[in-house]
């Protein structure tokens, strides 16, 4: 390690901070921007962080988000109950339900994207354009992004180190 590198602990923390900062900015901007959506929780925003909600199925979203379909189910149902999306029959697969954003859902999606854009803008200001682009590029490289989305499905954070025995 060339940069004077702390044992490693700080890096772990810093990555955590990056993540936290992102979530926080998201929550903050949204809490202010939309006087709406009081019934939404962070987990729901996590979903809106991705594109393509509209027109996909819960199972697909679950795969993209790296969670079980049961977990995603709950989020989707919640979102439906509060009018952010509807579930229409999937043409060509009677089992599946096609998710459709309502106007409210679309507005929320916009809010989330605006919040993210704002945060990125502030980072960009802080870092300067070149280094910001570099960060972007590095993130892409580290998280491996040749394919569009599905890679996420293979990643899952174990709640424990070992199985629940």
């Amino acid at each position: 390690m060339s940069t004077e590198m702390e044992p490693g602990s700080r890096t772990g923390r810093r990555i955590g901070l990056l993540h936290v900062a992102f979530d926080q900015a998201l929550a903050a901007v949204l809490a202010e921007a939309g006087p709406a959506h009081p019934e939404l929780r962070m987990a729901h925003l996590q979903i809106f962080r991705f594109d393509g909600i509209d027109g996909s199925t819960a199972a697909e979203l679950a795969a993209h988000a790296g969670m079980t379909k049961q977990s995603m189910h709950e989020l989707v149902v919640h979102l439906e109950r509060f009018g952010y999306l509807t579930r229409e029959p999937h043409p060509g697969d009677t089992r599946a339900r096609l998710l459709r954003l309502t106007p409210a859902g679309r507005a929320l999606e916009q809010d989330v994207h605006r919040a993210i854009a704002g945060l990125l803008e502030s980072w960009r200001d802080r870092l300067g354009p070149e280094r910001f682009d570099t960060l972007w590029e590095i993130l892409r490289e580290i998280t491996g992004d040749r394919r569009p989305l599905p890679d996420l499905a293979t990643i899952s954070v174990p709640g424990r180190l070992r199985g629940p025995e």
Copy 2:
């Protein structure tokens, strides 16, 4: 945004992935490296991600980790119960308890640091030295690191967007 920038969603996801990748590598390497510690969960490792456990108090750790002392309390007690640390009286403050790593605790700390070092090494291989250093520098900049640690205490991720009403 100069790099062809997706609406923002991908960036959010990518940062999440960075975080997840880190946690995962940590879990994986440790699960393999130490056939020990079956009773440890990720939350405990999160603690070991920081230095300075040994000799600090639970309240300090809580501040560093950005969580309440009650939450940290549970983790610390757990760690104590399973022999990773002890709590001795704090000289100079009868209320406080000084945390002390046991040999097992110290070994675990080493494992965690080794795991992190290994992950960073792999990123370094993938990115090349200069860009790796750049990432490091950018992370430092974004997460703001003039002061040693305490800044984290001010950050908290809301579980909801609004207060619990």
